[in-house]
């Protein structure tokens, strides 16, 4: 497995960066939690939810485009984890496996609902607590993120907020590394163009 390379936070946003080290980034608890779930312990399931739900929900939200569908995706993913608990101990990297099943279920839910437009207005980003200027920025950037394709949004999310490398994204989504890198680059380029053009 490749080492997870954390993107260096820009110097001027250290206090508010969204990618602060969290329990998600630490390799230690995952094996233990997965073994607990495999043994059928409910408290291990609750701990897994606390560790992983934020990233899984974020990915589902960026893929499906609305909170209701994202919540359904997370719920279905955890049910699947519980059903497939016999194989949890054999999974090499629990974090990427969780994101992989979230991605698959998000695609299924999107197809099932047949929605092309998000239900809400731009739910993709929110301002960190205690930053009075950011809500406006969050709404504006969310509106621009909404204009990316779901595939680009998903790769931008995984690289930027889940800290995955392009090769890890490729493995999780079942696409070549080059395609993952290309989607990320195109997504950022589109976002940059939209940011500079819109007032």
């Amino acid at each position: 497995m490749e080492a997870i390379v954390e993107p260096a936070p820009p110097a001027n946003v250290e206090a508010t960066t969204a990618h602060e080290p969290s329990a998600w980034d630490e390799p230690a608890p995952w094996r233990e939690v997965f073994e607990g779930v495999a043994a059928g312990r409910r408290e291990a399931l609750a701990r897994l939810y606390d560790l992983a739900s934020k990233r899984m929900f974020g990915l589902a939200l960026w893929r499906t485009g609305n909170t209701e569908d994202a919540a359904e995706v997370v719920q279905e993913a955890f049910v699947r984890v519980a059903e497939q608990r016999a194989r949890l101990v054999t999974i090499r990297d629990p974090r990427w496996w969780l994101l992989e099943i979230t991605h698959r279920i998000a695609i299924d839910v999107t197809r099932r609902r047949r929605r092309t437009e998000p239900l809400e207005d731009h739910p993709y980003l929110s301002a960190p607590a205690g930053d009075p200027g950011s809500p406006v920025d969050a709404r504006r950037v969310s509106a621009l993120v909404a204009r990316l394709s779901p595939k680009q949004r998903e790769v931008v999310y995984l690289h930027h907020y889940a800290g995955m490398s392009h090769s890890e994204i490729g493995r999780s989504l079942g696409i070549p590394t080059f395609t993952a890198a290309s989607r990320y680059r195109l997504g950022l380029a589109t976002l940059r163009r939209l940011i500079t053009r819109t007032p």
Partner: protein
């Protein structure tokens, strides 16, 4: 370009995706907990391995495929001619129309030779 990309990444870094709704935790844990109480789903290969009828069915399928692959004749295919005959019946005129003439290697080499000769004669005409 790189600076602009960093700017975009900086803007994204100052914001964060919203977390899951608070009520979702109980709902998920209730549903997943119910799934934990059920017997775990087995991998299809494990299911085949542990079940005698499935093992027999799998072995029989493999055997049938191997036997068919070895013993079934490979040359018993309808030739292309028979399709044209079936479609045109016994009308030779119709058959002439439907049956597209094949490219014949002898003609190809002949055409290539004449084409190059023709090109050579035109080059001579131009230079003169």
């Amino acid at each position: 370009m790189t600076d602009q990309r960093q700017d975009t990444e900086t803007i994204l870094a100052t914001l964060e995706p919203p977390g899951p709704p608070v009520a979702l935790r109980d709902r998920v844990l209730r549903r997943a907990g119910a799934a934990l109480d059920r017997p775990p789903a087995q991998d299809p290969w494990v299911r085949i391995y542990v079940s005698r009828p499935l093992r027999v069915a799998w072995a029989a399928t493999v055997l049938v495929l191997v036997v068919a692959n070895v013993f079934l004749p490979r040359t018993n295919r309808r030739p292309r001619e028979s399709f044209i005959e079936g479609a045109t019946g016994r009308t030779p005129e119709l058959r002439e129309v439907v049956d597209v003439p094949r490219l014949r290697e002898a003609y190809v080499s002949f055409d290539a030779f004449t084409a190059s000769a023709f090109a050579g004669s035109r080059r001579k005409e131009k230079t003169s």
